[in-house]
């Protein structure tokens, strides 16, 4: 490795934002043909550093060398010319456009005055084959899965001839299968002579694929070391600055009576097809039921149906013994169902509201917040302050807009709010997506705490690790059906993965409790 030449060198990069030094004299080096991981807490400055390399931000100080030459990267155009490509944390895809259109955008093949779509499609097809990416050039972004969207992002960089690829948290939104496939793709890219910078919060991935890892904390580089000589615990500690327990201690579950009974639920999805196809399961007090499955197998529809956001065609939903099939969201919420939604920005928060108003999003109309139609801000403030203290939500004040909080803190605030409703059933959908290990640890502890207090938790996650770690019982969903149930201690990733993709039960036939 040492023999490889340096393709990117960033020296003494400093970047300030109002009130914060996002990058503080950062040094970073990428060698030809390596996968170099960048690790750090939320808000540590990883994306900022990469945005600088890609020309989206201009640093206040520091120099950048690409292939030994000092360069001024004044915009993405320049970066692209230098052979740098970036797959952003939040995809930069134009949704109503087709895959091809997204890929060729900005450097379109022409035929007279018009875009030569025929040639463009062929180019995309060819490139896609070359790297084993298998995308449909004619599909629109709206129609394809998140994993596919990511491949489009990768193709965009390859189409522009990038040799240096930056991946900003590429796996946060992927299913385990997709992650596997991505890792394969990355290896293939390296084989073809590309160099890769990988930002991720998942230590496992770093261990699996990276050659080197650079750790940043609060804008400063803490260390840069070969992956070979390290281990996850050491990395976590370096990154957070304290010891982090990556394993949860969990007492055995003490099961109570059933609180959520779902029986033969049928629900239509977006295209009018059955998204849930006679789904049935039971959730008891004192347990965490993990729902494993590949994204798009009815999980979102299930959440919506359980919370009254989507009409139910047939089947029943009982909460604490009461039939609440087809009830309104509010009735269900009052019956004791709390939801940590999948998309915290879209569904969990009003980003333009101050924190105090976000903390009463579902309870504003109840006493003590509502007094005869008027809001009692004294009570609301007190409530917000208490939750923020209890759940360690880092915010300058309860008057700060939710928008200004980091993802992890936004998530903590939502969890505080939902848990504080003292629900019978807590539905947690992707509760730790995109969060750093410190935040994940915190949230996992809280979920287990709820279960220990005798609450029922339904955990929906595309991350097998999370499911395996937290669940007392795992149900696998495939094409809108629960196709099996397993005990986490009795199973492994491979078996689960198999069930999640196309279940052929060893015993044959469907397996239900």
């Amino acid at each position: 490795m040492n023999m490889a030449r340096t393709v990117v060198e960033m020296r003494n990069i400093t970047k300030r934002f109002p009130g914060i030094v996002a990058n503080d004299r950062v040094n970073f080096e990428l060698k030809q043909g390596e996968i170099h991981a960048l690790l750090g807490e939320n808000g540590a400055g990883k994306s900022t550093l990469m945005n600088i390399l890609f020309g989206l931000y201009q640093p206040e100080e520091g120099e950048i060398f690409v292939n030994g030459q000092e360069v001024a990267i004044d915009g993405p155009n320049k970066a692209i010319k230098l052979g740098i490509g970036m797959v952003h944390q939040h995809f930069k895809l134009v949704h109503p456009f087709t895959v091809t259109e997204n890929i060729i955008l900005g450097s379109e093949p022409k035929h007279g005055l018009a875009v030569n779509y025929k040639q463009a499609n062929e180019n995309v097809e060819k490139l896609s084959k070359q790297y084993g990416l298998n995308v449909d050039p004619l599909a629109t972004i709206d129609e394809i899965s998140v994993g596919m969207q990511q491949r489009v992002e990768i193709l965009k960089t390859l189409y522009r001839g990038a040799d240096i690829l930056i991946f900003d948290e590429p796996t946060a939104v992927l299913t385990p299968q997709e992650i596997e496939e991505l890792l394969v793709i990355m290896r293939k890219l390296v084989e073809q002579g590309k160099s890769i910078i990988l930002i991720t919060h998942k230590l496992k991935e770093i261990m699996a694929i990276a050659d080197r890892v650079t750790i940043v904390r609060r804008g400063k580089v803490i260390d840069s070391l070969p992956v070979a000589g390290t281990n996850p615990n050491q990395l976590a500690e370096k990154m957070v600055g304290r010891e982090v327990s990556l394993k949860l201690d969990k007492k055995n579950a003490v099961l109570g009576e059933p609180v959520l009974e779902v029986d033969k639920l049928v629900v239509k999805g977006r295209q009018g097809l059955r998204a849930l196809n006679e789904t049935s399961f039971v959730l008891k007090r004192g347990e965490i039921l993990g729902l494993a499955g590949v994204e798009g197998n009815g999980q979102s529809e299930l959440i919506e149906a359980l919370t009254g956001l989507r009409p139910i065609d047939s089947g029943t939903v009982k909460i604490a013994g009461v039939d609440l099939t087809g009830s309104k969201t509010r009735v269900i919420s009052e019956a004791g169902v709390s939801l940590i939604p999948e998309d915290r920005h879209k569904h969990g928060l009003v980003l333009d509201f101050p924190m105090r108003e976000n903390m009463v999003l579902e309870t504003y109309y109840q006493p003590p917040f509502n007094k005869g139609g008027f809001l009692d801000y004294a009570a609301i403030d007190e409530h917000a302050k208490r939750l923020i203290a209890e759940f360690d939500v880092r915010t300058p004040s309860i008057h700060t807009q939710a928008r200004a909080l980091s993802g992890g803190n936004q998530q903590k605030a939502i969890i505080a709010r939902e848990v504080d409703k003292n629900p019978e059933v807590l539905i947690a959908a992707q509760p730790t997506r995109g969060l750093d290990v410190g935040a994940i640890e915190f949230i996992h502890k809280r979920l287990v705490e709820q279960r220990n207090m005798g609450k029922a938790v339904l955990l929906i996650s595309y991350e097998l690790d999370e499911i395996m770690q937290l669940s007392d019982r795992i149900a696998v969903i495939y094409e809108g059906r629960i196709v099996g149930e397993v005990d986490p201690s009795q199973t492994n990733d491979e078996q689960l993965g198999l069930m999640m993709t196309d279940y052929k039960a060893p015993q044959g036939g469907e397996q239900r409790e």
Binding site: S333, P341, H347, L351, D352, E357, L375
Partner: protein
Amino acid sequence: MNKLIKVVTKDSAVVPFVAILLGLIVGAIIMLFGGYDPILAYRSLLDKIFGSRYEFGETLTAITPLVFTGLSVAFAFRTGLFNIGAEGQYIMGMTGATIIGVQVHAPWFIHAPLAIIVGALFGGFWGMIAGYLKAARGVNEVITTIMLNWIALYLGNYLVNRFLLEPGKGRSYFVDDSANVTIGWLSRALDDARMHWGMFFALLAVVFFYVYLWRTKQGYELRVVGFNPDAAKYAGINVNNGVVKAMFISGALAGLAGVFQVLGVFLNQAISASHTGHGFDGIAVALLGGNTPVGVLFGAILFGSLSYGAAGMSFGADVPPEIIRIVIGSVIFFVATPGIIRWVLKQLRIRKSKGEVA
């Protein structure tokens, strides 16, 4: 106290004043270009606004409907809706008040409140149509409110023509005295300026706007719907209801503007060939005021005074009154682009500090 000092010294407090100043300067430059005397023109403007008790009273009367239509547009904005229809809702408010004022006969303590309420309901209903079509059918409220403005114009004319007309007069009968909300003693004190209670209702509306949106449960719901309808759904708030309710309130506010023009200024409703512009001006007022209630109040005062004073510029300095539209437009422009003002302020500071050095 600290907070107060902070607010006053903040850019956002300076920007409007600089914006007004710059707007007036733009107007002056254009006047000079046209060969007019801007000093005389602005003096005439001030004279028209403050020059006599009568003019001052009439300025207040000119401001009043703008407070209502400004609040109307701002209210809709706050709930995520763009109400271009204040114009039509204003006409419907007039019509509702006229119908009650002319057709119903009752003691004043019933008649006037009834006329006000029915007018507000008419305006509210007119707004609600757009709200309903948006909620139920997904029809963009920008189009429907534009169309409803025209429909209201003709519907108002029809109702006056058919049911309220004083023969040969081209307008309705006068409303009964019992429905009249003018303030006689104040008018007399201000040399017969047309003073009416609408002014005070406008102030109440400002308070209502604030209290309702930021202090009540329903206001909270509407704001959630406005900022993030998806989150509203997840929180169990009925988004469609919210849209309809918001458009109702917005429409009722615009309706009140019309109500008080009828019950306090004209005392009748004329058949009208075109829109008054109060509703469209409401958009500008709302934007001038940053969609906050107090901002709208100040916006209306600025807008109303300038518009009213324009006739004075024409009278006293022979300047075409259209110039005032340029001034108002420029003021809004500068309010909306604080970047330009900050730049100007910075230049001033630099020059000042340079001056000190020298």
